[in-house]
Symmetry: C2
Subunit: 136 residues, 2 copies
């Protein structure tokens, strides 16, 4: 499982609005997966959650996460990353979710009446499968 | 997060060859996600791994897993399940992986020279999103 900076091929793939699934770990040790939007921003992953999500409590007690991004029409090809939350901040004015929503859908986020938080994650290791097997 | 038998709508969705991502937890507590094939067989999930996978060691020390199955062309709609491994058995003659491969690709599994194991998982809880939000 490679460490260090992501190779260009992986970065270019992760910059696309890919289907993705993230895992958090509950306080009792149970892993929980859920489909998610993400953005690769510099060397970090940006996630964004409704401030009321149980997942947010999981992340505060166990900051380690994993995220798998799939190629939409060839999902055997995928990139999995293991990382950890570096900071959780209020998404003031919904600026971050609008950026993520625009990336995925072309328009700002529709739900405006719920507070959200941005979750920044450092990538500690990653691996590629399928067409990304030899990257790096 | 509902418990108990899966409703018909969810069962019918899970019976399709959907893109899916599973999470295991490493001995050090780090969650690890990876794209996977699965089969819903009765009330259990059937997974199948190369016998040499690190993930198999994770599953032997921490049997709890999570699996998210996505709708291919509308992956906001997804079903996530939390469960645990109930048994791990050698896949004699590659019968199980052939069944799973045929389900996903229409043909038996191509790699014949590597031993594989079947991992059966009970589903303890699940939740649906998007078009599955109200199911159950």
């Amino acid at each position: 499982m490679p460490h260090g900076q992501l190779p260009t091929e992986i970065r270019e793939f992760l910059a696309l609005p890919n289907p993705a699934v993230m895992a958090t770990v509950r306080k009792d040790g149970q892993p929980v997966t859920v489909a998610t939007w993400y953005l690769l921003d510099g060397e970090e992953l940006l996630l964004n959650l409704d401030a009321g999500r149980a997942r947010l409590a999981h992340l505060r007690s166990e900051p380690r996460i994993s995220l798998t991004a799939l190629v939409g029409d060839d999902w055997y090809s995928h990139v999995s990353m293991q990382g950890r939350v570096t900071r959780i901040v209020d998404d003031e004015g919904l600026a971050d979710i609008d950026r993520i929503s625009t990336h995925y859908t072309g328009h700002p986020y529709r739900v405006r009446d719920r507070p959200r938080v941005s979750v920044w994650c450092a990538i500690d290791s990653w691996h590629g499968w399928g067409s990304f097997k030899s990257a790096g």
